[in-house]
């Protein structure tokens, strides 16, 4: 079976937040966006990055593994669902265990909420709202083969967090030949090459 998934290309993100607006239309978390658009380095760059649930495959869903109530279930297609409301006991383990900073927590409702890849749409063959709404294809939905045929760049499904590599169902688009997004190595490079912040010049 061909597996359709999301491809995130943050270089194309223009920070319009159409994905967030689209996400609020999802029937399983009405009126609330589970996509987050962040300024990556505010004060230095206008670059923005959209974050959706990466649907971790190996290790499979750390959020589900640290859940004491087994409230986070995984569909046969590998989609990590948001917490089952009847089971979530509000401990927030998932929120702080997620290596990608994805789950949101509603303190009053004692409920974790997160992107479930628009399960109501994707099971019917439709694309998730965020990909539907994105005007620049920074969030793009399709199969690996479709991506390779239509787009530049190499889809990378591995993110390195120090000694821990996390393989995800959702891809990040990177230059050809990149095997993984090595967080520690790249952040060390970034720290070395960072320019000195200039004070704002005011007349």
């Amino acid at each position: 079976m061909e597996i359709k998934t999301l491809f995130v290309d943050a270089t194309r993100c223009i920070g319009c937040r159409a994905c967030e607006a689209g996400c609020r239309e999802c029937d399983s978390h009405k009126g609330e966006s589970m996509v987050m658009v962040d300024f990556v380095d505010r004060g230095f760059s206008v670059a923005t990055q959209p974050t959706v649930c990466m649907h971790c495959e190996d290790p499979v869903a750390p959020c589900a593994q640290v859940c004491p109530a087994q409230a986070i279930l995984i569909s046969p297609e590998g989609v990590v669902q948001q917490a089952d409301p009847s089971r979530c006991i509000g401990c927030q383990n998932c929120v702080f265990a997620c290596p990608f900073g994805v789950p949101k927590f509603d303190v009053e409702a004692r409920l974790m909420k997160k992107c479930n890849l628009c399960y109501d749409r994707t099971v019917q063959g439709l694309q998730p709202w965020c990909a539907q709404a994105c005007p620049t294809d920074a969030l793009w939905y399709g199969t690996f083969e479709e991506f390779a045929a239509r787009r530049n760049g190499s889809p990378v499904s591995c993110t390195g967090f120090g000694e821990m590599d996390v393989h995800t169902r959702v891809y990040q688009v990177m230059p050809a030949g990149t095997e993984k997004l090595d967080l520690v190595a790249l952040l060390s490079e970034a720290a070395e090459g960072r320019p000195v912040r200039e004070e704002a010049w005011v007349l």
């Binding site: 300024f39 640290v66 004491p68 900073g101 994805v102 990040q172 990149t178």
Partner: protein, 369 residues
């Protein structure tokens, strides 16, 4: 669409410790069954007060109790659950709890179990539905279980009085054909009506809400409602048969009622209804986080928050972070980045995303693919 939990490849719990947990679960479950059978024998005065017509309910309840204990023990053996359970029990018996959080458990019992005010924050209709189902089921069980175990029984005292016996001891008597006796004899009818209101709302939500329509699973979400509806309807039909139909179909209805109730009892440990015994763990989690970690759950609780390593935003206490890292370590995962960057769990969710974004743009530069 079927949704199931999958275990992580190489999940760290060794096969030996898993086998130990299974043995413990079997032993505790067998002990529960024996203890309950003994309580039935003693409580019904060596089965003299036991109503053999209700044997199906009794056997089903005993099986369900054993199976619930089995599953609960295995559930507690999972690393995150076990950690919360042990620390929750320690927290409950700690001096700090009694001194500082005296009202935490009573307040949590109210907000999380009896009034379920947290569901009110999800939606009013949902809260109303759940309160009806919760109280309908709980009150029905509270009435049915002592009756089917032979722990309580009623006898007629001529000319027109009824006497209640509890564990073979004579207690109150009340006159027949009064409002009180009518209410007592129809108590299960009232609980059935409450239950039907809740099940009706649940069916309405599940057949109209587009989100629920896609994510609900028949066996997990719909089947329990069908069973509850069947129990309530057949239960009410028993009263209808004796009051309005001169006892017609009574035998058939009572057998059907028993069959659906026993099916419900047998499914209790395996399906959605397990959350009846699972959910009270919220109180343990609340206690653990408040007593051990100073997390604020209720007004007046003391805060002992940590701070994000990068932006300084409030995080749960350092102990929460340490415990979470220990749980992840039990699961064979470590997110220690480097001595300079620390561990990923020391960052708030927004900073985790921004760190990843910075790494990504460091690799990408000004490329546009």
């Amino acid at each position: 669409m079927a949704v199931s939990i999958r275990r992580a490849p190489g999940l760290s719990r060794s096969r030996q410790s898993q086998r130990q947990s299974e043995w413990l679960a079997w032993v505790l479950s067998a002990l529960t069954v024996v203890l309950l059978a003994l309580l039935i024998y003693v409580g019904s005065r060596e089965l003299r007060d036991f109503d053999s017509a209700l044997v199906g309910y009794a056997v089903g309840t005993v099986f369900a109790a054993g199976a619930v204990v089995y599953r609960y023990t295995l559930w507690l053996s999972r690393p995150p659950t076990g950690r919360y359970f042990r620390a929750g029990v320690r927290g409950f018996f700690s001096w700090r709890n009694f001194r500082r959080y005296t009202l935490l458990v009573p307040v949590a019992l109210w907000t999380d179990i009896f009034a379920q005010t947290f569901i009110l924050k999800r939606s009013f209709v949902r809260w109303l539905m759940h309160m009806c189902i919760f109280w309908g089921v709980l009150l029905s069980l509270a009435i049915t279980i002592p009756l089917t175990f032979g722990w309580i029984r009623f006898t007629l005292e001529p000319p027109l009085d009824y006497r209640l016996w509890v564990f073979g001891f004579e207690t109150v008597s009340f006159p027949l054909e009064t409002v009180l006796s009518w209410v007592i004899f129809h108590a299960l009818d009232f609980t059935a009506v409450i239950l039907l209101v809740g099940v009706g709302i649940a069916f309405w939500r599940r057949s109209t809400d587009a989100g629920l329509l896609t994510t609900q699973r028949f066996g997990w979400d719909v089947m329990p409602l069908v069973l509850l509806a069947a129990i309530a309807i057949t239960g009410l039909a028993l009263t209808a048969s004796s009051v309005f139909w001169h006892g017609a179909y009574y035998w058939f209805i009572s057998l059907t009622h028993q069959a659906v109730v026993v099916t419900w009892l047998l499914l209790l440990p395996f399906g959605k209804f397990f959350h009846i015994v699972e959910r009270p763990a919220t109180i343990g989690v609340t206690l653990y986080q408040a007593v051990n970690q100073g997390m604020e759950h209720y007004p007046g609780a003391r805060r002992d928050a940590g701070a994000c390593r990068r932006c300084g935003q409030e995080l749960p206490s350092p102990q929460f972070v340490a415990d979470l890292q220990a749980t992840l370590s039990d699961l064979g995962q470590s997110y220690a980045l480097s001595p300079a960057l620390g561990a990923l769990q020391e960052y708030c969710p927004a900073c985790k995303r921004q760190l990843r974004g910075r790494a990504y743009f460091e690799r990408m530069g000004k490329q546009f693919l």
